[in-house]
């Protein structure tokens, strides 16, 4: 979008302070999501008009501070330092002023044109916390505006201050550290002050960054002619300060800043001790309880999945039916125009079928994302992480990584996308690698088909055993990766428990739609391409019946079937179905229909008897196990590629899962035979 803005405003804040709600309130539907250049971090922008000015609002990522520990924080400090927005609005939760002010201090030190938006003052008052806003503004040296995002109050006032702020952008307050720190700072500033490229107002915070061992700041000075002198001085200063402050300079400076904040709070906040429990505390007595925590969680998840499956099944069925109708219509249209069967099939089976494969996912994903957004916005998601932490330790991960796994049972794609919430790359990779073992909804039709035919009396038990096997595999594989691949320790498990609140309808919808759309954009083309490729395999050479033994896919099947013979299903149809299953595991069911020529009258009876000829109950179980564990579908692989940003890991997942599937199916089949099944 090439629109000219009158001014750019950055929006920043801790999690759960109402920042996103404010962003949605201001920009409405006019927002676009992209990536920060060269980063995997999402960039959200939106524009709106206020009093004749066109404002470009940029949602800045980053959780609790601006030091360059994470990519998010780097993005944010880069934005403020290099792109020089006309104003930065920092949304603060009045209920927890201390913690929020840490970032305010950072922003002031950076000399950003700051406006503080104090949100949730009503709730703070209810808790007995009273803030003297005028005094706070005076001490911070920046404007402080009270807003209430939920009730849409104070927003215009905030924007007016933002417009005024633009003219006078230098923050006037000074944060002074104790003498020792100031002395060391001065030494570094001395060295830097000869550099004309470093503006005077930036000197102090850049040198502070050097003392805090901020990687971002270090990079700024890396190729300066005086860099050797500077880093020698930096090292000396840090060494000296470590003995006075803390071995960890980051922690040391946090303490200093919190000391400053403590003084600020004493002058601006008065507290009445409020006896009695808040609603959040009452709810947490159950949600986090040793006894009730897990049952309550299971109940919530059960409920969510019930609704999810009901709704998404009918929505998917609707779309499937729609595409079926379109396919029929197009088929008769094309034959009317005298197109060859081959061309008709390309259009109908290849392209329309391929688009259908993409769109089938949309309601499933949309629904899942909607439920996640509700769970997240209500505050319950953080409690789930707390409750499941002990179980997740068995996998070498912590509680937060449980959420992607639970999502995986619905669909691995959102599961893998949800690993974004994990901090370290190690945790994310591990969570991504085990996610495909969570038996997704698309695998269920395969189990239902086979278990229905071969284990009519124990269908439920058989299907349940597959889900359990998937979890077991995740535990085992997680253990192996932890031992041999990812030896470093997991990041410490720290999350904040936000207060519960009723999620806003609009916020949840925007959230879910954004994620769904991102999936359609990124994975859609890949799924479509693979669907067409598979169609070609099934239809070439020209003239063969779709997916028949004579087609390329059929000869592939013939060629590869000996590989599956030791697992009990060496018939070529099973092999071809597995190849087609790469496009989506639910396709396996339909493929068997086509391959056994049962599609015409679609009689399940003929398919059942055909399958009985080629499978025994034991080999059908081995087949189901293989379907559970082998290479995830293309959509999942696309998600893995997108989230890891690496083809290497994507190919690794595609291969190691086939190997595991083969081994496990082999063991089950051959043990079963030894036991006489």
């Amino acid at each position: 979008m090439e629109t000219k803005y009158d001014l750019t405003v950055g929006l920043i804040g801790n999690p759960n302070v109402g920042k996103t709600s404010l962003f949605n309130l201001l920009t409405g539907a006019r927002q676009h999501v992209g990536n920060w250049p060269g980063k995997t971090v999402e960039k959200k922008e939106g524009e709106f008009n206020f009093e004749g000015r066109k404002i470009n609002l940029v949602d800045l990522p980053g959780a609790y501070s601006l030091s360059a520990y994470t990519e998010e924080e780097t993005v944010t400090s880069d934005f403020i330092f290099k792109e020089k927005p006309e104003a930065v609005v920092h949304v603060i939760d009045a209920q927890n002023l201390e913690r929020n002010l840490l970032m305010t201090i950072h922003l002031i030190e950076m000399g950003s044109p700051l406006v503080v938006a104090l949100n949730m003052v009503d709730r703070a008052e209810a808790k007995g916390i009273h803030i003297n806003t005028a005094k706070l503004a005076e001490l911070l040296g920046v404007p402080v505006v009270v807003i209430n995002v939920r009730e849409n109050r104070g927003i215009d006032e905030l924007l007016r201050v933002v417009l005024k702020r633009e003219a006078r952008s230098i923050s006037r307050s000074k944060i002074n550290y104790e003498r020792e720190v100031e002395e060391e700072l001065e030494k570094l500033i001395q060295i830097v002050s000869f550099d004309k490229d470093i503006e005077k107002k930036n000197r102090k915070w850049l040198c502070l960054g050097l003392l805090e061992e901020d990687k971002n700041v270090a990079a700024i000075f890396a190729d300066k002619p005086y860099s050797i002198e500077l880093s020698a001085a930096q090292e000396k200063s840090i060494h000296h300060l470590q003995s006075v402050l803390d071995k960890d300079m980051g922690a040391g400076f946090a303490r200093l800043r919190y000391g400053f904040i403590d003084g600020l709070i004493k002058e601006t906040v008065t507290r009445k001790i409020n006896k009695g429990k808040t609603i959040t505390e009452r709810l947490d007595d159950y949600a986090l309880s040793r006894f009730w925590g897990i049952p309550l969680f299971l109940f919530v998840i059960f409920l969510v999945f019930q609704i999810f499956f009901k709704l998404s099944e009918s929505a998917s069925g609707f779309i499937r039916g729609g595409f079926h109708a379109i396919a029929l219509g197009v088929t008769s249209l094309l034959s009317m125009w005298g197109m060859s069967d081959w061309t008709t099939s390309l259009v109908v089976d290849g392209i329309i079928g391929g688009v259908g494969n993409v769109l089938i996912f949309v309601p499933i994903l949309g629904m899942l994302f909607l439920f996640i957004a509700i769970l997240e916005d209500s505050g319950y998601m953080a409690r789930i992480a707390f409750v499941m932490d002990r179980f997740m330790h068995k996998l070498g991960l912590h509680g937060k990584a449980f959420i992607p796994m639970i999502l995986g049972f619905g669909c691995n794609v959102p599961g893998i996308m949800a690993t974004r919430t994990l901090e370290t790359r190690r945790d994310r990779l591990l969570a991504i690698l085990i996610n495909p073992f969570m038996s997704c909804g698309a695998r269920l039709p395969v189990y239902i088909l086979f278990a229905g035919i071969f284990f009519p009396e124990h269908q439920g038990v058989v299907i349940f055993s597959l889900y359990v096997l998937g979890i077991l595999m995740a535990i085992i594989v997680g253990f192996i990766f932890r031992k041999f691949v990812f030896k470093e320790l997991s990041s410490p498990f720290v999350i904040e428990l936000p207060s519960y609140h009723i999620p806003s309808f609009k916020g949840v919808l925007i959230h879910a739609w954004e994620r769904t759309w991102l999936f359609i954009k990124k994975a859609g083309t890949l799924i479509l391409a693979f669907s067409v490729l598979i169609w070609f395999l099934a239809s070439l050479p020209v003239g063969v019946a779709y997916g028949s033994e004579a087609s390329l896919a059929g000869s592939f099947g013939r060629m590869l079937s000996p590989f599956f013979a030791p697992l009990g299903f060496g018939n070529w149809q099973a092999t071809v179905a597995l190849i087609f299953g790469l496009a989506g595991k639910e396709i396996i069911v339909g493929s068997f229909g086509t391959l056994y020529g049962a599609s015409g009258d679609g009689s399940a009876l003929s398919l059942a008897s055909a399958l009985r000829q080629d499978f025994t109950p034991l080999s059908s179980y081995a087949f189901m196990v293989f379907v559970l564990l082998y290479t995830p579908c293309i959509a999942t692989l696309a998600a893995i590629k997108k989230e890891t940003g690496s083809w290497k890991w994507t190919i690794f997942v595609a291969t190691y899962s086939v190997i595991i599937a083969w081994l496990v199916a082999f063991v089950i089949y051959n043990f079963g035979r030894l036991l006489g099944f």
């Binding site: 922690a251 040793r290 707390f386 932490d389 509680g399 498990f493 720290v494």
Partner: protein, 47 residues
């Protein structure tokens, strides 16, 4: 963790500790979940 207010010299209230599984600590006015492994590295005095 320092950013959340858990640093040497900070005042922290342990709101919940079942002995196994993560702890719940109160820092300033927010509740924070802290994994056992992280919590074991923190030493404090009772106040």
């Amino acid at each position: 963790m320092a950013e959340l207010g858990i640093f040497a010299g900070a005042e922290i209230e342990i709101a919940k500790n079942d002995g196994r599984g993560p702890l719940l600590v109160k820092v300033f006015d927010s509740k924070i979940v802290l994994g056992q492994s992280g919590a074991q590295k923190i030493y404090g005095d009772k106040i």
